[in-house]
Each structure stands twice: as structure tokens, then as C-alpha cells.
Symmetry: C3
Subunit: 561 residues, 3 copies
């Protein structure tokens, strides 16, 4: 046996340090410690050692496992070549099986995380629906609900047919979701000596070019819910006067083109994302969960529509003074805000697209930032209104919560909680100022405040990344292909702020113009606004054929048409 | 040292390819490459190598871990025999510990997935409650809510006492949830030379026969929520006239017997599931998440009840012409539809009972199919009503969404997205036609359309598996004990369609008859319908002792009793 | 080659049994089986074997992966030193990488579980809001909603600034969430020869003392939601008469001090938790998910406030007879109960703070106990009211569900389903008796029954642990530092019941006194109750400046002020 021991120790000596995280093995004396301490002698691991690993058998488990100690064991690893009565010499459990299960577990966790957070984002549609409807009048409640209900379907159809391919067709491998190569067709041009990604073209109706793929499905689900969030913002601003048929067409175009284009630039491998790697502007446009991509796109399109359609009859006096037109159900407004805050826990933390690997454990931080900024936003609005008008207004407090959530959406992945609270607090005040500005200065009628909540605070969120990002996040080592963590101006990187401002300029310049032109065209062909008679009667009977609450007695209106 | 090197290389030569997925190791020259390239020399792995693996220590972590790089490391693996000051020669981390943690992680992921999706299914009860109540009249709102509220409890009690044991008592080992053997008592008879499973009998009140077991708990939770979904369908069809006490008894029987029996045949190891392995009919009755098991059982029982109780007073003219009786709150109807669509993301994708292993990563595909079919259903109904009656009706658009979701429930795990959209679109039109048929031809009064949404489209969903299943799903290699993937007629397997049609025939034949007889009996003893006076007054005060909305002024009714 | 074979077998002989769970390797003959059976010869595993493991390549995946068989493989394991074209001699995949990924996966699962269940708990705020508002009158609906809406923000601010540091600053390492050392500052005194933990002081605004840490974030989110649940209970009892400004101040104090102090004693390493390890009283105060910590603290503070503020005008006749004041919307009351039951699936099962490791697979059991006790509670109340007053009352049935859920919260982790059903059934009856007692005997006006639901049944839940805990749970081997499982009196441990009763005495003695004094002080400075004129008019216009439902016609009130 001596020679064996000798060899064992000898082999160890020539072994280079085998594992990344492993500290150096206890410096083995160079073959000079033959006898003694047998307990410490390293033992080699063989395939048989692994093959013979096993957990509790069926007999041990027959009486049940109340405390879970017999469940979830080695037995549960999938074995490629299992030992059976017919195949007693099979390999049984191997290191390869263990490693495969580890990889499978990682992707399964990340699919679970991304899907469930995606489901939460979907539920935000319900929140938007009742917030907007509660802020409208009884006579338009069915119509407002139906727009919010069908925007989900209209957007989804457009996105399945066209939008997803444009947005994500060239996104490339997503490590968190298994690094599938099926979405890798970005159309780019070369400009100023660098490649500018313009749009993707792969994955039409989840069938084209290998897109019938489990990864593509998970990505589609999550991104679809985001797109639909942007679309439903618009229905609030032009509620109580939008022709239902025009709404369907306009929303289809937005889901097929407007949203996916900007989303491609920011998230799908397009030119905004590469401002860092191409031109040294920080990490390029950084928008963690879409203050710009989702909320500003929605809010700015809403602004274009609000200008195009004009105010509701009776909103402004002949002198141009805006009159308040109260919503009909504050209970559902605040219930809807809670649903939105709930769903936002999907929106922001889910945007990691995973929980395991690549610094994804920061999901907790993202969730807390989201929660705190929403809180700070509701405080900001409540206190502003209380101090200015003497009462803590419910609608604006709800909008303040949403404004804080919108603002934190872009920075949630990059800031600490103090930054998050400051961003939210500013958002809460900003939304009040913006509502007044939109109404009193721009003379745009926005029944639910969507332009201010999503447009204004979406831009504020994008900018805040360029100020408050603290350089402590590290998602697998780089962001947008630039090594290191995103840092804002306050932490020493002015270039990041420039990238954010370029994003804002693009939102205002491109999205507004594109949306305005598209919807002006639809207006020419279809007409986007209902007749004055319809508007005065309320849209429910003329447009939808049914009242929302046919049995309740309703007061004769005194304010608004 | 030469001999060591020699031996090392020699050993490698005789090593059969050790790992399933591993490509052949770089063909090692047969002992003929003694010196050179020491970096490439294989190094054996010993228990000490593994024991000495470690992650960052407490000191490194004392300043916090903002980016998650120090959290979730080797340190987090549970060690059976940890090295401590008292036990410095303990084994420390071993391959067995790593493998145990891998198995534990797999089952933990699958428990997490199944539980959270089960929670989402539970939330569907809220959706059903407000959809049904919103479609009823103010005077019956408390009664309708209370039926929907207590059906959750009544069904759960019945299922805990009896139903679960019948349905799942013989389900056997479920690999995704840890392959516990505690539920393995199926009562079978031999017929035509094959075993026919009829019902299970194990796990009464989660205590009997080892059922106090973590696996059994997870399965119970998920299956309980499914059963309750079936029960709550019935309350819609016979709303506004069902005696509350009779509702309690009838629902108990359905949760204890009607539902569990059919569910055993389809999912619990019973005879419908084995039509493939026993008689070569495709993969046997394939109903991924229960278009038949849940929705048709609910819808067909609803039909039996609708026939038994007769229409509401005032629903039909003396000439038998049906009159529309509008619901009192469309806001909650559409809100409820959103809640249901949200919960359906638990219903269908959760039916894998896991995310890791066995082809479970298809959960993304299942979720997307669900989403798209719901969308297509809402489009189908909206367009049908718009074209036929001139307005996009809100109630029917909501029902169209639900019809699409019901129809995709069975095929969601087996079809691609194009198939899903077609199935949903057909469902959306079918529900409109079915509502007209039930009302005008069958003269059955169904205030919420539950027979058409769940019964008709449940059958359509079952059939659609036999048409559109594309043979690209592979849940661990077989389904219902038949190797390969489920394929419908359009992909070359007519036998699958036959199995589906046998399922439909069983639903119509057995469930209708059984439900009718049971409820006729209850009617004899208890009386199932309230008095005409109660119905005219509204059920809220006479049956429940309280109005739903005591402070709001309500219009005098003009339609309906 | 002979010598190699010889050595191989020889090494095996001296290998001590290498793995914890591994059965002894097939007794290898002591070097005496030289030729034959080469298939069974153990093969050593080398770093090269592992380095060469790989999954399907990009080419194989280019056509998509519909069934998930190519996704989630060895390729997905993060490799510290990956082989690339530039670095062909890198280590590639190592055992250390595999083990690191296993640890990362475990923590990722547990973060996922804790965060998602925490999100569900947050959604309970919506449920509380509409349950309480639905049980109030139309004229106070905006005010009640706003209190429930802002209690979320007020509590969160207080907790971020102060409360979290007090509660969790000394909690120490939480193995399920990665065992970070950053929260380990408990202030303790020595009393009766033992250390008594009084409060923590670390982690102020998630920045102090290393609290910018992914673990601390996840813990904060979960615990914050719990704290806010306690706070929102109070708003129900003093609804329809609480001055909004006083509500803000009072809630802040409760979130900063009252709740965190008791929570520290029970969960944060404080003296109630160590009653077992210090004084041998079972496992110390055991409150799995907070029947006492959350619900009794809320309910007992509500009682103090109810006494302090006095009843609503018109609640009692001059003779002291209580009059019923019905809520204005039973639909939202029961919808809210469903939301709460949904969120409770986060509350109780989430309190494991993980799914993988440490006996966490018991989450299924905890969820089922929760579900069943809620069911039993609704049955208990429904039947009690039906038998006593002739009708199955909707409000009390909803409260019965909540009472069952409150009661099971503490024992959910320690009892079997039969125990859970009994606990819930008793809770359902107890809540009815308590409502009568509070109203008729104590003459305290509690519009929503929060004192009885949360206070009384919270105490019952705490006591029930000391009776029904069955000793079959085993969360990593010990609870509160005492080896073994928690056992109640019925399973042989009277000491546990004593610990529970000490907890109850502390709740009644400390929390009531502290809350009363604090709120009495606030009353002195700010005034807590609105004026009689405001109360008669309804709080919505005077306090909030807007009606909840400005367009609906409301009946002239006949009952209540």
C-alpha cells in the first residue's frame, strides 16, 4: 500500500489549484510525510462514488414526510442513463447529470421569476382600467373600461404579428434565460463610423426563424406586458371622447411600430443602448425597467393625442379657465393604484429577467427602491396638495404614488434607497406641477393626468439615472456592453447624464412626431373623436350599446358636458 | 514523478466516457506523451478539493453586499457533516452535499412554481364572484357574491374530507414534486382485458395513509383550487333563483364526488388517461389543464341545474322569446375578467406542476398560448357582436376572453401559438353562437353565459387537442405513459382525436346524468329554487338578510322580474 | 496497465466513505479481482472531465427549442475562468463553478419565494382598504380609502427610517437568505442571569452599518409588508371619526416603535424568542407568521384607539344599546376578503423566508393549513349567525374567513390539517362572540370588527400553538435555538403553552398600554377625533375635499348619524 499512498500525495503536488474559489489546499509536503494522519489523506472521487449516491427509498417514505426531510434529495436529479433492473450496469448518476440539473435549475428559477413577474405586470392592466374609469364620469364608464380591456388584446395581436419582431428580433443571447441564439437579426446602418441598430426582424408570430423556442416565449410574454402598459396610458388622456373604432386602429399601430421601435433602440440592441460602447457616453442610454421606454412613450403619445383630439366639451370656460370634472368612483381609483403598485413589483424587479446568476440577487434592492419611491411620491403629492389647497386630495395622492413608481422605473436597478426616496419625492411634487402646467398653460385636457404621471415623470426617471446611479450595481460585470456599473453625475460620470438626455430628446422628438403624424392620418381617414351629441349623452350607449350601471340612479350633471 | 504521470494518463485511457452529455475527452495518446504540456494534464478531484471550497467570509461581507456578488455562494450549500471547531476533521462539504442541494433546489423550484400558480388559481374565485355578480341585478348582488364566496369553502371542505382521496388517492409518484409514494391506491377493475382505474382511495383529510406529506400538501392545494373553479361555474347559471341552503348541499356533493370522479379518470390514473397505453388511442384522453376536467364539468353541471331550476321569472315572454336582463355593474364584470385572465396564468402554466426538469421549461409557451387564445377569443366575440348587432358588446367581449381561455386550457401544453390563436378565435365566435342557442333553442336561462363559456368551449378545447396538438411538446419523454408527444389529427394522429371524443362523450353522458340525478334528489328533499315572492323581491333580504348596497338609490326595474 | 488497475482498486480500499448520504460502495474485494468485469471498475474524475462537459451548441439551437430540451443545460452554469479563443488553456468549468451555481440557485430560489410572497402580502393592503370601506357608509368612503391607502406609505416611511433598525437590527444571520452578518446589533440587558434582547439598532434607512445589502433588502421588503398589515387594522376600528392628520402621526409612531419593539422580542432575537433557550419554556414564544406580532398588535392597538375615541354618533342608544350601521357595499367587502385570503398565501407560507433547505419544503403544508383554517372560519361564522339569527350573514362570514386566517397565522407552520381546521372553526365562532362582547359589554364601537378579527383571534392563534403544535415540523433542526420541533400541550409540552401565554400577557399589557399612552398624548396635542359636525356631514368633504361617488344618488340615512 505504500506505493499507493506515495502516488496519491505525489499527484496532489502536481495538481494546479483546481477551483476558482478554492483557497490553496493545505500546502502538501512534497511527498515527505508518508505515514501518520490518515484521516486527512485526500481521497479521489470516482464515477462509482457518484453512481452510488442516493436518497431515502420508497419504503422510508411510505408513512409520509410531514417535515420535508425526505423530499428533494439526490433521487430527484434527472439521470440520463439510469440504473434499472434491465440495465444494471448503466452509468447511473454522473457528474454530468448533476451539472445538467444545476443548469436546468438556474434557467427554471429564471423562467419562474420572469414569468411570475410578467403575470404581475399583466395584472396592472386591471389597475389602469379602474383608475382611469373611476376618474371618468358614469356616462362614459363602460366605454373607458372597454378601451382599457381591449387595449390588452389589440396591443397583443399587433405585437405577436409585428411588434415583437421589430423590438426583440435582434436582441441576441440572453444569458439569464438560456442564451438561445434564435433572436439575432438586427437591421443596422453605419453612421459616424459606428453601427446603429434600427430595428429587429425575427420572430414574427413566434414562429419565424426559430422563434418557436422556450426562451423566446418567456421573453415575448414579459415584453408584451410592458408594451401593453404603454398603450393603455393613452386611453386615459383621451377618455370620454375617443371613437372606439379609431382607438382600435391607433392602438394597433402603436403596438406594432411606435413602441417596438423605441424599445429596440433602448433594449433590443439598438443605437441608444450602444451610445456607451460606441461613443463613450457612460453605459449608453440606461433605462432599467422603462421609465422612458414604457411610460414616456405612453405619456408622450398621450400628449400628442390630447392635442389632436382637443379637450372635452365643458372642460374649459370661454376664457380658457379649466374646470374640475371629478371622477365618479374614488374607491376604484385607489384600489386601482394598489393594483398598480402590486404589479410594479413585477415591472421593475422582473426586468432583471432572472434571479440566479449575473448579479440578479439585486432584485430585492430593486423591489425596495420601487416600494420606497412610490411611497415618497404619494407623500410628495399629498403634502403638496394639502399645503397648497388645504386638503390631502385622494386622486392626486394616488397619482403621486404612480408618479413615484414611474420615476423609479428607470433608476430602480442602479440607485440606493436614499436616492430612490429622493427621486420619488420629487416625482410626487412634479406630477402636481405638471398637471397644472398641462391644464393651465398647454390647455390640454387629460382627465386622468396620464401625461403628467407617465410622460413627465417618465422623463424625470430617465434623467434621474444620470444623476443618482451609484455605481454599486453589477449585473454580470457590464451594462450595455460597457464594463463596470452605471454611475450618474453625482457619482462622477457626466457622460451617463448625456446619454440619458439623448434618450429624452429622442422620446420628445421622435415619439411625439411619429405618434402625432400616425394619429393625424388615422383621424383623416376614420375620425378619432366622437360627435358632440355622443359626447354630451355619454359614450356608453352610442358607442358601446350599454350603460355601465343601468340600475343606479345618477345625479344630473352640473360640471362638464 | 514519472511513474505518477504515466499512471495518470493510463487511467484516463481506460476510463469509459464518464458523462452523459460529455463529448469524448481529447483522445489521449495511449501513454505515449510523457513530458510537455503540463497545463493540459488531467488532475484528479479529491474529497479535500471539495471540502476546501468556500465562498467569501463574514469579514468580507461586513460592509454589505449591494450588488449581490458575495451572496449565494458555496457557503450556502447545506453540509451534512460540517467542519467546526469541535469537529475539525469532519468531512465538510462533499459531492453528496452538493448533489443533495441540487435535488433540493429542483424540488424547491417546483414547489415554488406549483404553489404560486396555485395561489393565482385561487384568486380566480374573486374574478368569478364579481363577473357573476356584475352580470346580475342589484337586488340579488349579496346573494350572488355569497354563493361565490362560500363555494370556495364548501368545495374545500368536501375535497379535504373526500374529494381529494377519490381524485388523487391513486395518482402515484409525481416526479416533478419529489416522487413520493404516498398516494398510490387506485381502485381498478379489469374490462376488455385491460385495467380501468375508477377512483382513488387514499389521503382522506390529508392524514390517511401517509398523506401528511409535503408533496401531498402541494398537490392538494393546486388540485383543490381547480376543483373549486369547476364548482363556482354553476353558481352563475342558476344565479338569482338558487336557494342558498340547497346551494351549500349541491356544491358539497359536486366537490366530494362529481368533480373528483371525472378528474380521477383524466388525471388521477383512471381509465380515460390510459386509453392510449391500453387501446392505442394516441396518448389517451389529453387535457393539459382541464378544459374538460374543470370547465366542461362545471358548464355541463350548470346546464343540468339550469334545466332543473328553470328560467328566472320574466326572462321569457309567453311566446318563449328571451328578454335581455342587463347586469348591474359592467366595471366589475370587466375587472373580474382581468382577474380571471391573471389567474389563468396560474391555471395553465401551473399545470406542469413544476419548472425544472421533464420538459417543464415549456411553461413559457403554455403561458403565451393562454394569453394569445384569450386575446383571440375577445376579438372573436367583439367582432361577431359588432358585425351582427352594430356595437362591440362589453359583456360578450369579456365572455369571449373567457371562452378563449377555457378553450386553450386543454391544448395549451400541446400547441404552437398559431394553433392557440385559431383555437381562441373560434372560441370567441362559438360562445356567441352558443349563448344564442342555449337561450333561443334550448330555452335555458343562463344569466352569465356560463354554460356557453365553460361547457361548450370546454368541449371545444378538448376536441382542439385532437386537432392542433403539434407533437413538439415533450414532458419528460412521454404523456400518459405513451412515449413521444401528443399529436392531433392535423399533425397525423387520428387516434388522439378519438380519445378526445371519448372524453367529450363521457362528459356529456356521465357528468350531465350524474349531476342531474344528484340535484334532482336534492330538489326533492330540500327544494332548490326560492319562492316566486322571494325572487321578485330579490334574494338579498329574504335569503341573506342584508342588501348589497343599502345606501344607493336604485331605479325601478323595467325588465325582468 | 496491470499496475494501474491494481492501484486503482487499492486506493478505493483505503477510501473512507466519502459522502454523507452515500451507502457503502459495493464492498470491493481487497485487490483480489484483477481481470474481468471492466465495466464496474471505478473511474476517477478529473478536472478535464468536468471542463469538457457541455450542452448543445448554438448550431443545434438555431432552429428553436419548442420543447425545452436544449435549454437549461451545463452551458448555463456561470464559469469563473471560461475557455475562450484568447484563453484556450483556462480552467473552464470546475467543480467550484458547479458548487457556486448550486449555492447561487438556492439563494435565488429563496429570494424569489420571499419576494413574491412579500408582494402578495403588500396586495393585502388593497383587501383591507375595500373591506373596511365597504363596511363604512358612503359619506366616509373617500376618507376610509385614503387612510388605508396612506397607511401603506406612512408606515413604510417610519419603518425605513427607524422601525426596521429596531426590529431587525440584531436579527443575525438568516441562513435561508444567505447568512449575511450585516444585521447583528441587538441591545440586550442581563436579567435573572440571562440575556434579554430589547431592541436592535442597525440598518437605519437601509444604509447604516452595511445594510445596503441584498439580503437586508429582501428582509426589509417582507417585514415592511407585515408591519403595514398591523397598522392598517387600526384604521378600521376608528373609521368614520378619525381626524386624518392625527391618523398620519399615530400611524407613524406605530410603524416606528410599537410594532417593531414587539416584533423584535418575538422575531428579531429579543427576549420572547429566547424564553425557550434561556428558561426552558418549550421553544420560547413561537409565532410562525404573526398572529400575535402582526394581528394582535394591530387589534389591541385598535382596541386602545376605540376606547380613546369613543363610539360613532348614533351607534348606541341612550340606553347603551348598540344599533347596527350597515356598510355601503358588500360586493367590495367580499371581494376584499378574497384579496386578503389570496395575500395570506404570501403571509404564512412566505414566513419561512425560503423554499430550499432547512425544512422549507413544508411551505405546502403551511399554505394548506392557511387555506383550510380560513375555510373553517367562514363556516364557523356562517353557521353561528345562521343558527342564531336565521340568516347566513355576509359581513360576518367574511369576518369569519379572516378570523380563521388570523388564528392560523401563528400555528400554520406547526400543526397538521386537522389541527388547522379545528383552530379555524373555533376562530369563526369566537369572532362572532367577540363582536358581541366588544359591542354589548365593552361598549366599544368597531365598525369593521377589527378588534375581534385581529385582536381576539390573534391571541387565540398564539395560544393555539401551545395546544396543537404536533412536533412534526423541523426547520433545519431547531426553532428559536432549541433543538427539535415545537410541540403543544396536546402533544406533550406544557412549557410551550406557558411561553405562548407570556406572549399574550405581553401583548395585552405592553402593547395596549404603550398604544394608549402614545395616542392619548397625540390626542392632547393634535386632537384625534373630528368634530361632531364633520362626523354628521360625513368626513369626505370636510377632511378630504371630495366625495367618493359624486354622481350616484344616495338615500337619506336612517340609521347612524
Amino acid at each position: 500500500m505504500k506505493i499507493t499512498r506515495f502516488l496519491l500525495v505525489g499527484m496532489l503536488c502536481l495538481a494546479p489549484l483546481a477551483f476558482a474559489q478554492a483557497p490553496a489546499p493545505p500546502a502538501a509536503p512534497p511527498a515527505a510525510a508518508p505515514p501518520a494522519v490518515p484521516a486527512a489523506a485526500p481521497v479521489m472521487i470516482t464515477d462509482q462514488d457518484i453512481k452510488t449516491l442516493s436518497g431515502p427509498d420508497a419504503k422510508a417514505r411510505a408513512n409520509g414526510d410531514p417535515d420535508g426531510s425526505l423530499t428533494g434529495t439526490i433521487n430527484d436529479i434527472t439521470v440520463a442513463d439510469p440504473v434499472t433492473d434491465k440495465n444494471p450496469k448503466a452509468k447511473g448518476l454522473t457528474v454530468g447529470d448533476i451539472a445538467s440539473q444545476v443548469g436546468q435549475n438556474k434557467i427554471a428559477i429564471n423562467f419562474t421569476w420572469t414569468l411570475i413577474t410578467g403575470f404581475l405586470v399583466m395584472f396592472m392592466q386591471a389597475g389602469f382600467a379602474i383608475v382611469e374609469t373611476g376618474l371618468c364620469r358614469v356616462k362614459n364608464a363602460n366605454h373607458t373600461m372597454m378601451m382599457n380591456f381591449m387595449v390588452y388584446g389589440v396591443g397583443m395581436l399587433a405585437y405577436w404579428l409585428i411588434g415583437f419582431a421589430i423590438q426583440e428580433g435582434g436582441v441576441g443571447a440572453v444569458a439569464n434565460l438560456g442564451a438561445s441564439p434564435v433572436l439575432s437579426n438586427e437591421f443596422s446602418i453605419t453612421l459616424f463610423g459606428k453601427s446603429w441598430g434600427l430595428w429587429g426582424h425575427g420572430g414574427y408570430f413566434l414562429t419565424h426563424a426559430g422563434a418557436y423556442d422556450v426562451f423566446a416565449m418567456v421573453l415575448f410574454l414579459f415584453q408584451m406586458e410592458f408594451m401593453d402598459t404603454a398603450l393603455t396610458i393613452v386611453t386615459g388622456t383621451v377618455a370620454e371622447r375617443w371613437k372606439y373604432a379609431a382607438f382600435v386602429v391607433s392602438s394597433f399601430v402603436m403596438g406594432a411600430f411606435t413602441y417596438p421601435l423605441f424599445a429596440n433602440w433602448a433594449w433590443g440592441g439598438g443605437w441608444l443602448a450602444t451610445l456607451g460602447s460606441s461613443y463613450g457616453l457612460g453605459h449608453g442610454y440606461a433605462d432599467f425597467a422603462g421609465s422612458g421606454v414604457v411610460h414616456s412613450v405612453g405619456g408622450i403619445t398621450a400628449l400628442a393625442m390630447g392635442i389632436l383630439l382637443g379637450p372635452r366639451l365643458g372642460k374649459f370656460t370661454r376664457q380658457g379657465k379649466p374646470l374640475a370634472i371629478p371622477g365618479h368612483d374614488l374607491l376604484v381609483v385607489l384600489l386601482g393604484c394598489f393594483i398598480l403598485a402590486f404589479g410594479w413589483f413585477g415591472f421593475n424587479p422582473g426586468s432583471t429577467l432572472g434571479a440566479s446568476g449575473n448579479g440578479n440577487l439585486r432584485i430585492g434592492s430593486i423591489a425596495v427602491n420601487t416600494m420606497l419611491a412610490g411611497m415618497a411620491g404619494s407623500f410628495g403629492s399629498m403634502l403638496y396638495m394639502w399645503l397648497r389647497y388645504g386638503k390631502p386630495d385622494a386622486s392626486m395622492t394616488g397619482n403621486g404614488l404612480l408618479a413615484g413608481l414611474v420615476a423609479i422605473t428607470a433608476p430602480s436597478g442602479f440607485v440606493n434607497t436614499v436616492g430612490g426616496v429622493i427621486i420619488g419625492l420629487i416625482a410626487g411634487v412634479l406630477v402636481c406641477l405638471s398637471v397644472e402646467f398641462v391644464e393651465k398653460v398647454m390647455k390640454v385636457d387629460d382627465p386622468v393626468g396620464a401625461i403628467s404621471v407617465h410622460g413627465t415623470n417618465g422623463l424625470w426617471g430617465v434623467i434621474s439615472v444620470g444623476l443618482f446611479a451609484d455605481g454599486k450595481s453589477n449585473y454580470g460585470g457590464s451594462w450595455n456592453g460597457v464594463d463596470g456599473s452605471v454611475k450618474g453625475l453625482f457619482y462622477g460620470d457626466p457622460g451617463q447624464l448625456v446619454a440619458q438626455l439623448i434618450g429624452c430628446a429622442t422620446l420628445i422628438g421622435f415619439v411625439f412626431t411619429f405618434s402625432f403624424v400616425v394619429n393625424w392620418t388615422i383621424d383623416m381617414f376614420l375620425g378619432q373623436r366622437v360627435s358632440a351629441a355622443t359626447e354630451l349623452a355619454g359614450l356608453d350607449m352610442p358607442e358601446m350599446g350599454a350603460l355601465c350601471y343601468p340600475e343606479f340612479e345618477v345625479k344630473t350633471q352640473s360640471v362638464g358636458a
